[in-house]
Symmetry: C2
Subunit: 418 residues, 2 copies
Amino acid sequence: MDLSAYVKSQAQKAKAAARPLAALTTAVKNRALLEMAQGLSEESPRLLRENARDLEAASASGLSSALIDRLRLNADRIQAMADGLREVAALPDPVGEVVKMWRRPNGMTVGRVRVPIGCIGMIYESRPNVTADSAGLCLKSGNTVLLRGGSEAIHSNRTIAEVLTKASAKSGIPEGAIAFLDSVDREAIREMIRLEGIVDLIIPRGGEGLMRFVVEYSRIPVIKHDKGLCHTYVDEAADLKMAEAIAFNAKVQRPATCNAMETLLVHEAVDKLLLPRLAERLRASGVEIRGCPRTRAILPDVRAVSEEDFHTEYLDLILNVKVVQSFEEALEHIAAYGSQHSEAIVTRDYGRAQRFLREVDAAAVFVNASTRLHDGYQFGLGAEIGISTTRIHARGAMGLEELTSTKFIVYGEGQLRE
Amino acid sequence: MDLSAYVKSQAQKAKAAARPLAALTTAVKNRALLEMAQGLSEESPRLLRENARDLEAASASGLSSALIDRLRLNADRIQAMADGLREVAALPDPVGEVVKMWRRPNGMTVGRVRVPIGCIGMIYESRPNVTADSAGLCLKSGNTVLLRGGSEAIHSNRTIAEVLTKASAKSGIPEGAIAFLDSVDREAIREMIRLEGIVDLIIPRGGEGLMRFVVEYSRIPVIKHDKGLCHTYVDEAADLKMAEAIAFNAKVQRPATCNAMETLLVHEAVDKLLLPRLAERLRASGVEIRGCPRTRAILPDVRAVSEEDFHTEYLDLILNVKVVQSFEEALEHIAAYGSQHSEAIVTRDYGRAQRFLREVDAAAVFVNASTRLHDGYQFGLGAEIGISTTRIHARGAMGLEELTSTKFIVYGEGQLRE
């Protein structure tokens, strides 16, 4: 079979499973999730063996040690995948929830009910656990999934998908509900994202190259998980101890994530009070600071920040610092350079806090909290498939509800259109 | 300026207006809507003059009289456009609504607030009133709009857009909030749908050719208003008088709409009781019936329905009739041929009514009511920009709420990610 026919046949299997899967009860889906967790635990030795093949290939091809670490499975990480599936089993089922129901003047009752989206195409480049996480979240929300992981994790991903498929089948999950695209050819992605009418939604998670490719060629709706260029603005009325803690957390706690801070904006009234202490703490954690002229007047050994730096998502221990003359200048900077992902203000001023929440255009806007808190678990969505940077359907952290759509149901008694 | 630069500059104007527009109060937006209504009334003579140019060109190019009638403006239709804007002014503003707000264990309060989507690209082929309707709905929901109407209505659309822009400016609406793409070149659409990062959402309303074109080339999320291939299933337990009335209404009340019925499914236990009377009524209204063998045994002078007929959205006074042996056969037929738009069952059976609502995959599912009721006004959404056939963001009738997105807002007191 050629690649195009193979991709289509895998997608059609997933599509065919969508109707029977949507009809399953919560109990059946939860049982399957527990079986899947059990399967991962039982098949640990095989998972580790297959993962070793990926690690070997990665070493041979000279992948960085950070990337190799992301790829690695071990007993703890397999346990974490299994626990993740059990947690999803414990979450409420979004399918069938009546979001709203009302009576019309002509007597008919109209309701909006949550339903699965259908068949979801997941394209990812990250760690193998995404295979299990995505399969679990899609299953619980009644969606079938076509999984396409990164080529560097092909052995791990294939084995995880196999284990999950076999375990889910035991509980009556229809064949095809967890479909895996077993191809490292990038053309497989192109074929997949053109299957309009078969795949209902594409969720890409990965670097800019993947995003551009998917947006360019997809005929299917796409919910992007794209980059985050996030700011923290320390207002003149900030509690400076809080500001220091929040800025430090937003930069250092896990710099390689999309909701980490890339640029710190500081009001000129407090720059001399905040920056020396904060810079000392940041440097002690290995952070390189790049500053505007005024920052460099306070921190003389800091290198100059460039226009390009302000546009860069470092995903690393590097921080731009800019002193602003006003709240408005901070808003303008965020509007000009931000990626509408996660933005924070630290202030004790009521009016500016409210204005920041209202006027800053981002998926999540924070007052007096770290942007690192933008996360499905932290927000209480239960689990997350990622953080959407698309402006429609689901903006920001996406949980189970965001993997559903709604349909109208109408209870009539013979109503006609006049 | 070449076409590509022109389209981009119009889109950029609309994009630039998005932030100031989003910040306006409801009062300002409502005042603008009333000014816009007033403007249309006052400029009636000019609108009629420009519309006459479109009508002349349409006659000269041999457009059908039905299409010419759709194109025509008159005093009543201008009044209806103005009234539509006044109705939108009277609707609640969706922007700023806190959909939900909750406290997390770490003490931070997380909320979801409705916000405008940004800049919406409307592409339509239909009547000139869509220009005013779309502009009004986008304005009220805080979105700027880039309008691209059909070439046959270019003079009417251009003038309506001019009048609305001028009137809205009087009330402080930012320039560019209602932008018009003054080009009859189809390439303008291709340019427009590739402006990722400038236009945030594309809403196409029109025929299959336009839909295919937009899906093929768009780099921007698309909410399609595509075809409706809708069924009515008359169950063995139906109230046959009600079934007759619903089937007649769904076919005849306005056959050229997407929610009109194309195929009637009848349970074999009631076919002889229902079909003769219903067929008589339908034929008296000029409906051509195409039937399955069993239908033709009851209605001998009916022509045979083909496989292709079951796939055809007639948008006309033609009806396929098929007798089914069971409720399940009806569900299978709908799953195989329906376009997931609007589907109805007529029955007095509680269990099958519930199963139909649950198992039929469509944007709107009806028990004992006409599919023609699938409409924003009928459902109580207040007004509609159309009926979405996309499975994400907004499924089915789209009102003001569906023209918004949400963002997370977080009220913190120094919370960090541990």
